[in-house]
Amino acid sequence: MDILSLFIIIPLLTITGIILVKDIRNVKKVAAIGMGIQLILAAVLIFLYVAERKGGNISEMLFIKDIVWFKSLNIHYAVGVDGISVAMIALTSIVVFAGIFASWEVELLTKEFFISLILLATGVFGFFISIDLFTLFLFYELAVIPMYLLIGIWGSGPKEYSAMKLTLMLMGASALLLVGILGIYMHSAPSGNQLTFNILEIKQYVIPITAQRTFFPFTFVGFGVLGALFPFHTWSPDGHSSAPTAVSMLHAGVLMKLGGYGAFRVAIYLMPEAAKELSWIFLILTSISVVYGAFGAIAQKDLKYINAYSSVSHCGLVLFAILMMNKTAMNGAVIQMISHGLMTALFFALIGMIYGRTHTRLINEMGGLMKVIPFLSVCYVIAGLASLGLPGLSGFVAEMTIFVGAFQHPDLFHRVVTIVAITSIVITAVYILRVIAILLLGPVTNPKYENFRDARWYEKTSVIALILPVAAIGMAPFWLSSTISSSMQPIIDKIMAINLF
């Protein structure tokens, strides 16, 4: 059994364990143990990976495992990781781990809740490890579907509406994606040769430019919707605001990253020519969503809405950086994915915990929480600072890498849109500080807040598990960024190769 498949097997085992558990109270313990093992496994994977690289293994993907599945269609179960996927896997396992603890107080249908949650996680892990477009797509949809039940059953507010909307929009995205993937598959090899779904094989062959022109938009938009690409982002505010805490965490923290990851692993990597031709359209769209999301966040009153819009802005930045198609910017994109994943998960976790105490998410109805629940409030401030790109926290590293990289682009248009995107950091500061000021600072508005209890142990576990990496990346980004950039090299090489002709 290879290590990568374990990332799918352990969650499945956990699910079986949860099903078998008799006592409802032990369910969350089982889930926590399973995801804890997953977290450890991720750490092990990182060590193995680094060791391999140190050992001088320069092949693009490591730990490759390739089993023929549907022979006649040349569909394989093929997994493999490079530095980027390893980073994403680590991110996922952290967020899932934190999510389990953040949803420690789920009462209604506990068993089902954790099963769906872990099923979702399974899909995400599978997505990140697969290098075969078919399995990639399979896991993508597998990750999206449990969302419906999770939001619909355990959500709040207009949950049915939000759940339906989110599911349908994401499935619509996957519909476009399906067309794109089929298109890639049909042109994945010179005529007469065996067609293939394997990314590593496809990239060795240049897909005919006409086909690229047709299928790049499908693929990119298909992933872009999940990455909250304007104007297809509207599932995000409703979905996030209605979802239960852990789901918002996973969704904003990890699932939205599927979009960015796929966008460059599939769309850009396999169809760079078309990407170069068409990037300007999407650059405009993404820079719109960066600024637009930030402005949208200012006017919101519901904590989760604010965060959803800021996610739109930040994920827009990811796609934006990817479209710059140069090494530094794409590094930044990956770092941004990880950093945003961590901090937005942190945000949603804290919002959930605050909501659990005040039973409202409207900032105007709260105030002065810093005095009554200092731990949570301080963590919220830290998350906020990370989000507005304070040096020493992960957000800064990501944004600076993106901006510097993007601004090094030789083309003037790209530099101009970069400037536009940069303005978002001020707007971000505005809404973050606005929330902090209204929500946490100032006098305690409500007398009954006085007898709030600060974070319980499981809440602390969840929050700290997220803050530590944020700070770590922020303080010492060198290893992360160098790992990523070395893995980014093959992609860059393929992109650079086309500049010649």
């Binding site: 909307k165 006017a299 530094t328 090094q408 000021a437």
Partner: protein, 639 residues
């Protein structure tokens, strides 16, 4: 060459302090954490004095003056092959000079705070933040590349935010901190863009490379131009925007007065002595680029500085909150420094302005910190910020009184006090380069003397107010720093800056220009006497003067309505006319479209239900027409 690599501890110690006090402060308890923080600062101060000594007097200078030394450097983040963010320590005259300023004042403030903050809620937090600020400020000062400077630039911003909002339950403090951060953040946007443009054309962040006269920034200015100015000039203007924000120059000055909501020691440390002069330091740091590659930017700096100093001085004359008066005077003094840089040239005696600016930065740090700490002591005694509630305090607070007086004399430019020398150099430099600005500065000198002594008289002399409990002198922990700083304010004028801190590192000859000095002294004394006449004893003279220039007074009193203007822009424009429309658009247009698709589907599905009428014969009819339709399609159209 001496090895300075130990200077990295300048950054490590306060960082450790921050983490220890921040994470374990509530376990250590107030007293212990206070002592920890202060002792940490003591070590740092010692370190910086050692460094300063061994830099200025330890290193052999065989004729080519002070060289910049990279004492320590590691790559923090690799961006592009030739662009990487380093963290390190750069030692050269100005950075070493700043080390002295920052560490000394910070140390003083620490000691002062031990007494001032006693019994405050969140005592440990206060010292943790102070350490954080010290760390950031030192990092900014010793930054060997512009990006590290930006990083710590942001960090001082956040620590100032945290410290202004220290009394986080006081809405005004919260608002002030928010305002301070956002305004400076906006300015930093310019800074960042400037950095990006600069790095795009020069492919480096490194200060030494940038300021190298034959380097990419200066030698290759013949590059692209935009609206008649070279791209380097543009980038430098953008970079200066950052400086304007931090140093509270017009029009980004509005945050500084409100920042006085923070505890007084903080105002002394951050908003008088150290952080607010970061803008000046930034310009000085990139001075060669400004002077050689972008003179236009330098002109802008000069005029902005001059205007700000005048503007602030006028407002200061009318304020009654003593801390606000001091704040505006800070702004005006920084205006002086900016102007000095703006009118300076490069090398030898041309660099007089540069030297003068640094000199004034140094002395100003001393007496302004002293003024604020004194004000702190007064407020501590009277429990009010308003000079209207004070008067005749000289017999209650003797030490404070004396030290405050020294500071006032120093800032007013009375001879033999530190301020006199530095200000005189500035005026001299202005006189040599730009007569108009010189005239402005003369006026400002008078105003300065006037409002400082207005303050002084109305606090310590003037009418005898009845205090519900008699004010008493501050404890020793507070008075000792006052005395030390008073010594600084009195004596630092005699430091030979022209030998140590010059634009090109080479010492040059400069002497007191009596032609400039005497009139300025006279003007200063004039201002003092006017103040004496008006405020030394209680009279209705001030009110009559005020009513004489009613309109002007009203405007100046309301700070020329700048706050209202900003409020209008932020609340009305940004919030009302951008954000809310965006939010509305998103909910109703973008989202509406998505919902519309669903609705349309539903409606169609309702409309076409009539096909399923339940009538066999209609089914048959549809069936047959389907056949006919296909026949037409295949046999007649597509054939």
């Amino acid at each position: 060459m001496i090895n300075f690599s130990y200077s990295i501890w300048l950054l490590l110690i306060p960082l450790m302090m921050f983490f220890i006090l921040g994470l374990a402060g509530h376990k250590l308890g107030p007293r212990l954490s206070g002592l920890l923080g202060t002792s940490g600062l003591a070590i740092i101060t010692m370190l910086s004095f050692i460094i300063a000594y061994s830099y200025f007097f330890g290193t052999p200078k065989n004729g080519e003056g002070f060289k910049a030394i990279i004492a320590y450097n590691i790559t923090w983040l690799q961006l592009i092959d030739n662009l990487h963010i380093d963290i390190g320590v750069l030692l050269d005259p100005i950075s070493v000079m700043m080390l002295i300023v920052v560490s000394t004042v910070s140390f003083m403030v620490h000691i002062y705070s031990l007494g001032y903050m006693k019994g405050e809620r969140g005592y440990e937090r206060f010292f943790a933040f102070l350490s954080l600020f010290t760390f950031s400020m030192l990092g900014l000062v010793v930054a060997p590349n512009i990006f590290q400077m930006y990083i710590f630039w942001e960090l001082v911003g956040i620590s100032s935010y945290l410290l202004i909002g220290f009394y986080y339950q006081k809405p005004s403090a919260v608002a002030a901190s928010k305002k301070a951060f956002i305004v400076t953040r906006f300015a930093d946007l310019g800074f960042l863009i400037g950095i990006l443009i600069l790095s795009f054309y020069t492919k480096t962040f490194d200060f030494i490379t940038l300021t190298d006269p034959s380097g990419p920034a200066i030698a290759k200015t013949g590059g692209a131009t935009f609206m008649g100015l070279s791209v380097i000039t543009w980038s430098m203007i953008f970079v200066y925007m950052g400086g304007v924000g931090k140093s509270a120059m017009f029009p980004f000055h509005i945050w500084l007065p409100d920042a006085m909501e923070g505890p007084t020691p903080v105002s002394a440390l951050i908003h008088a002595a150290t952080m607010v002069v970061a803008g000046v330091y930034l310009v000085a740091r990139l001075f060669p680029v400004y002077v050689m590659a972008s003179p236009q930017a330098l002109h802008i700096i000069a005029y902005v500085g001059a205007f700000s100093s005048l503007f602030a001085a006028v407002i200061a004359c009318t304020q009654t909150d003593i801390k606000r008066v001091l704040a505006y005077s800070t702004m005006s003094q920084i205006g002086y420094m900016m102007l000095a840089l703006g009118v300076s040239g490069y090398g030898g005696h041309n660099g007089l302005g540069f030297m003068a600016s640094m000199f004034h930065l140094f002395t100003h740090a001393m007496f302004k910190a002293l003024l604020f700490l004194g004000a702190g002591a007064i407020i501590h005694a009277v429990h009010s910020n308003f000079m209207t509630d004070m008067g005749g305090l000289r017999k209650y607070l003797p030490i404070t009184h004396i030290t405050f007086l020294i500071a006032c004399l120093s800032i007013a430019g009375v001879p033999l006090f530190a301020g006199f020398f530095s200000k005189d150099e500035i005026l001299a430099a202005a006189f040599e380069h730009n007569k108009f600005l010189f005239a402005v500065e003369y006026a400002v000198a008078g105003l300065t003397a006037f409002y400082m002594f207005r303050l002084y008289f109305s606090i310590f002399w003037g009418k005898e107010t009845q205090y519900h409990h008699t004010p008493h002198e501050a404890p020793l922990t507070m008075t000792i720093p006052l005395i030390i700083l008073a010594l600084g304010a009195a004596l630092t004028g005699f430091i030979p800056f022209n030998k140590l801190v010059t634009s090109d590192g080479l010492p040059f000859e400069s002497h007191l220009d009596w032609g400039v000095a005497v009139p300025s002294v006279i003007i200063g004394l004039l201002g003092i006497t006017v103040a004496w006449a008006m405020y030394s004893k209680s009279s209705n003279l001030p009110d009559r003067v005020a009513s004489a220039f009613r309109l002007g007074y009203k405007w100046a009193y309301n700070k020329f309505y700048m706050d209202e203007l900003y409020l209008f822009i932020t609340k009305k424009i940004i919030f009302r006319y951008i954000s809310e429309p965006v939010a509305w658009f998103d909910r109703h247009i973008v989202d509406g479209t998505m919902n519309a698709i669903a609705t349309v589907t539903q409606v169609t599905s309702f409309r076409i239900r009539k096909f399923q009428s339940g009538q066999i014969q209609q089914y048959a009819f549809v069936y047959i027409s389907g056949v006919i339709f296909l026949v037409i399609l295949l046999v007649y159209i597509w054939r």
